[in-house]
Amino acid sequence: MNQGNKTFEESMTRLEQIVRSMERGDVPLEESLKLFQEGTELVRSCQKLLDQAQLQVKKIMTAPDGSPVEEEFQDEP
């Protein structure tokens, strides 16, 4: 199961925040430097998440008690 999506979503949201506040230019220089550093790290980690991601495909089957069970689903030759 891919775990990166949540991180990716949060990172993107935070990045958009950082870019907005840096573009407004109303934060002190020292704060901007910190934001820039944080943002640059987020960009790198997002790129890495995309690079390493592999679509996970499972077929849902039903256990005797009705609960879902994941099975491999081969969709690529």
């Binding site: 891919n2 990166g4 870019v19 901007s32 430097l33 499972k58 077929k59 689903f73």
Partner: protein, 403 residues
């Protein structure tokens, strides 16, 4: 045994005569599925109508075919009207088709419109009820056949666009009597176990009958009740089903649904790059502004030559000090003059001046100035001040003037 021997032509013509004489064969309507359909350059249509067990050769001449209200295709179920007769050259009978309509589709259209109206009145298509799709779906539930091309098309596109997702396939039958129940149940199941952030419900293209499961009200209600947002992806572009109306988003095809479901990683990478640039630009601008500010400050006299600045300020201070001293002097002189004037005024009024003119001042021993004879009694000692000294005296007599 004497037997008349007929030519083939004669026999075929005989049979044709028989058939043409039968009123039940001259105007017949037959239901079947089209196969081997061919349109000749002459404009005549040739095809075979068949059911589970048998086949019937058919021809429709250009003049009749021009009146068709649909384009016949293999697999289509139709009702053909015409006469059955023999084609003598082949010795085969066939249906000379004068008119043809699609079978059942008329009924399906009516049923579709009826259900659409009913569900619309119940608010199932209400735009206000439509849920927004997640921007970055972590898990996508696909409810479709695990055998069709549709699922592979969708997985290929999802893999290419957004491999951060997880896909859960809930296999269902997508046509036939069991399909609507299975599709509706899968939607409810996915909701019950919260199996996905987003559902894609659909199948690839097919005839109107093939897509009919997605015009079933059970499926419609299941989509409407789904807490998980649903993309409907049924058939090809022009096919619109009830599911499309109820779903939170309608996709033209399953592939299109996969495109709508997730962001495109190429676009995301681009957006990451542009955010990087934006941050760098913003920071540079701020740095530049700070540098400019610093320049302005360093150009100021205080920082350029501190000694000269201090000297200059010291001069200023000296100047201020001397101005202060001058002001103080001036004030002092003015006060002095006023003092001298006041003193000379006082001097003119001094009792000593009066005494010098020959007057004397009498005082009691206690120093009280004696202004009246009533203040003293004979025998009392008094003091008398003159201009150059004091006398002590005793009152010997007191005489009050009559006024």
């Amino acid at each position: 045994m004497a037997q008349t021997i007929l030519s083939i032509t004669q026999l075929n013509e005989y049979i044709r005569g028989k058939m043409d004489a039968d009123p039940r064969l001259t105007q017949v309507a037959v239901r079947g599925e089209i196969s081997n359909y061919k349109l000749y350059p002459s404009g005549h249509h040739y095809f075979t109508l068949k059911d589970e067990a048998s086949a019937l050769r058919c021809v429709m001449f250009k003049g009749n075919a021009m009146r068709l209200r649909f384009r016949p295709e293999n697999g289509m179920k139709v009702i053909a009207v015409g006469k059955v007769s023999v084609f003598p050259r082949d010795g085969a009978y066939q249906l000379y088709c004068s008119a043809m309509t699609t079978d059942g589709v008329g009924d399906l259209y009516a049923a579709f419109e009826q259900l659409k109206k009913k569900l619309s009145a119940q608010g199932l298509f209400d735009p206000a009820h439509k849920k927004p799709l997640p921007r970055y779906p972590g898990t996508i539930g696909i409810i479709t056949s695990s055998a069709g091309a549709a699922v592979h098309d969708m997985l290929r596109i999802l893999r290419k666009r957004y491999p951060l997702s997880n896909v859960r396939l809930l296999p269902v039958r997508v046509q036939g009597a069991e399909a609507p129940g299975e599709i509706a149940a899968a939607i409810a199941y996915a909701n019950h176990y919260r199996l996905a952030d987003l559902l894609i419900v659909g199948r690839g293209g097919g005839s109107m009958e093939d897509l009919w499961a997605f015009n079933d009200e059970r499926v419609a209600y299941a989509i409407y009740q789904s807490q998980i947002p649903v993309i409907s992806a049924v058939g090809h572009e022009p096919d619109v089903t009830i599911s499309d109306y109820v779903a939170d988003l309608r996709a033209a095809t399953p592939s299109n649904a996969a495109e709508l479901a997730v962001p495109d990683q190429d676009a995301l990478r681009q957006s990451l790059d542009s955010m990087s640039t934006a941050m760098a630009v913003a920071l540079n601008r701020q740095l530049k502004a700070a540098r400019q500010h610093l320049n302005v400050l360093s150009q100021s006299p205080a920082l350029r030559g501190p000694t000269a600045y201090i000297e200059q300020r010291e001069k200023g201070l000296e100047l201020l000090k001397s101005r202060l001293a001058a002001a103080q002097n001036q004030q002092l002189t003015r006060k002095n003059q006023r003092y001298i004037a006041a003193v000379s005024k006082l001097d003119a009024m001094s009792p000593l001046k009066v005494l010098s003119r020959g007057y004397a001042m009498a005082q009691t021993q206690e120093g009280t100035v004696i202004r009246s004879v009533r203040q003293v009694e004979p025998g009392q000692r008094i003091r008398i001040s003159l201009t150059d000294g004091k006398l002590s005296a005793t009152v010997t007599e007191k005489k009050e003037d009559a006024v």
